[in-house]
Symmetry: C2
Subunit: 410 residues, 2 copies
């Protein structure tokens, strides 16, 4: 048992933990995705409307009688509703945050009812550009409306309604997922008790947007993109997707981590003096690009990078993030990683400072991890301990509110 637990403070608090003991943790095991169809049109920030749509989601753990133990996990660019566990007969299908979510894990499914939901526009099951546009009878393609972080949150709120969850014990996400958590705290302030914003930012920088736009240009100018209607042509703009993924991947790793993992290691014994693979880093990146281009949808890549670019809750408040966050009611945990140069700690500190200005209860952990942006998906024990300790606090808060009979059963 992990024994320490932090007290969230009303002020800017930095804490870093080391887990003292080895924890017994296992995966949640086999899981099954579910889906729900919504017929009520979803008005989007762009002015467009998603006439009807399906959301694919997974749940882990058991919703308690007063529906107070639900935690929503929001996914980032390349992920989905499949947060934890594996699919039957597919041992390699482990969820993207399986190290974080499961029995005995930092987000403990023995205590919490955890929901992972795939966002509209994605390519992993929820309604997206590859699905039939009811207006044309053909795949949406490039006609799928540009969706925003806020649109996703509204869609997620409808799923919560349908599942009978009035208020989440916590909404949590890393990177783009962290933006969704933050948006929950402003759009539905009374429906979020705790908000965990990890390796995220209140808005993209010019450099972030620049990288996204180069990736988009690689896809948009791939002759196989066919203005987004490549489905009808029986092709996939793999070249563009591959380059887009390679660019993205560079920004996920730290310079130091890349140096440590690959350095200038050669694939062979000497320079090849050609354009094949000389360096191990080339081999790695090309492999990542190839793999990605096999399964990811090009229209989805465009949509999701736009959602990233557009996220800027302070925009409606003359750029004042403190004003933008003034209506929040949640308590917050903000986590950043020192070597993350995509969304550097400074960006997380902006969120913390805006919350402190509003006298919100916020805890902040800046983890000295070497793995860049990707660190939020990895197993740094201090990071895991921070999240674990925070969920201890979330749980103890629930415990206080629970009727005695449930407290005993818990």
């Amino acid at each position: 048992m992990y024994e320490s637990s932090p007290t969230a403070t009303g002020a800017f608090g930095l804490f870093v933990f080391c887990a003292g003991k080895t924890l017994s943790m296992k995966s949640i095991g086999n899981v099954k995705p579910q889906s729900m169809h919504f017929v009520e049109p979803l008005p989007l920030q762009s002015g467009a409307v998603l006439s009807d749509y399906t959301l694919v989601y997974e749940t882990y753990g058991t919703l308690n009688a007063d529906c107070s133990n639900a935690v929503l996990v929001c996914h980032a660019l390349n992920a989905s509703h499949h947060v934890a566990g594996t699919y039957e007969g597919q041992p390699k299908s482990t969820g993207w945050w399986d190290n974080m979510v499961g029995p005995g894990k930092p987000l403990d499914t023995n205590r919490f009812f955890v929901i992972g939901v795939n966002n509209p526009g994605s390519c992993f099951g929820s309604t997206g550009p590859m699905h039939t546009n009811p207006a044309t009878g053909k795949p949406y393609g490039a006609l799928f409306p540009v969706v925003t972080v806020e649109d996703w949150v509204h869609a997620q709120a409808r799923l919560a309604d349908a599942l009978g969850i009035r208020k989440f014990a916590a909404v949590m996400g890393g990177s783009l997922g962290g933006m969704q958590a933050l948006a929950w705290s402003t759009l539905y302030p009374d429906r979020v008790a705790h908000c965990l914003v990890i390796a995220s930012t209140p808005k993209l920088s010019a450099q972030n947007i620049a990288f996204n736009d180069v990736a988009r240009q690689a896809i948009l100018t791939d002759p196989d993109f066919h203005d987004g209607d490549f489905y009808a042509h029986g092709v996939v703009p793999k070249r563009g997707l591959r380059v887009a993924r390679m660019i993205g991947h560079i920004t996920y790793l730290s310079d130091d981590d890349m140096a440590e993992k690959f350095g200038r290691d050669l694939r062979g014994t000497d320079y090849q003096f050609g354009y094949g693979i000389d360096f191990e880093i080339e081999s790695y990146l090309r492999y990542q690009g190839d793999k990605f281009s096999e399964y990811f949808d090009a229209n989805t890549y465009l949509l999701i990078t736009k959602a990233l670019d557009y996220f800027d809750p302070a925009r409606a408040c003359q750029g004042d993030l403190a004003v933008a966050l003034s209506g929040t009611q949640a308590e917050f945990l903000v986590v950043s990683f020192t070597t993350d140069w995509r969304f550097a700690p400074e960006r997380s500190r902006e969120i913390v400072q805006a919350l402190v200005k509003n006298e919100r209860r916020v805890s902040y952990a800046e983890i000295d991890a070497p793995h860049g942006h990707d660190a939020f998906l990895l197993d740094d024990p201090r990071y895991m301990a921070v999240v674990r300790a925070y969920y201890e606090k979330v749980w103890s808060g629930l415990d206080m509110q629970m009727p005695a009979v449930q407290r005993e059963a818990a």
Copy 2:
């Protein structure tokens, strides 16, 4: 007149200057490129041989009687022999380092005989992939041999021979040009009196190589590349070149500078919810990419990025840069810029430390400039003053060696 002048020290010296007075400087005016054909085959590091080749170059100023005032300026990825001045009737044809080289400028053409030379493999006049391969009678295309920084230096040395220059007063370059200057100091130690290595690195990092490889992949997978033989097809792989340039450009600017110049400024008044231009940074990068794809050769881009990747003088010395630089005889000025994240100051310090270990005379300036890697091309007054002061020193050294009659004439 600028009055201060640094003394190069045998130890690691940091100095930053502010020019106290405005200097009267003008461009060198109209210049003309020259060319020289070499029939002696040039053996390359790859084992291939360039059977015969032409070098295009420009010179500014006057070579003195004992040929001791020659300075070689080496160009980086996107530049050429056209360092300073303009071409007649083309007022916008200003050389790429016109702010640095000219009458009264830091590298003063009233004193020095300055040579800019276009490297083999480039697309600005010297023999390159678009020229006829004597072995086939067709353009080299992808058959143009991969050339290295060291190959370029050997080619430059032949030009120096032909011009009667036994020893350079200085060899100077920024970025990839700095690598050439450094290579001169090891390959021809007795032919370089002073070596100016600016915004450079002793070798590319894994992250540097990664960015280069993504750019290459964008070009190599452009259907219009035709395995490098696009000349025969009457097309240009513009899509690939455009993406390559956009990626490169991001790495030339600092995050802060991009934030300052563009931030999240919109082109219009609101989000467009499409894939046109929303942000000013997108407009800028796409414009840079488009422009570049109009004039740069795709095979050259591949060649030059490979030359960058391969440069690693310590490689033959078990990675020990001090050993690699132990044969140098020059005095050195090394300059870096604090916000340069492509070749960060740390990389320049590696060079300085290796030189100090060898008890070479080296001066080091780390300029706190906001403009990232591009700073080496810009007008930071402290940077300009450092280079100016260093050339004062170079000049005063020449002066000592000069016969009295010449000293008076100077």
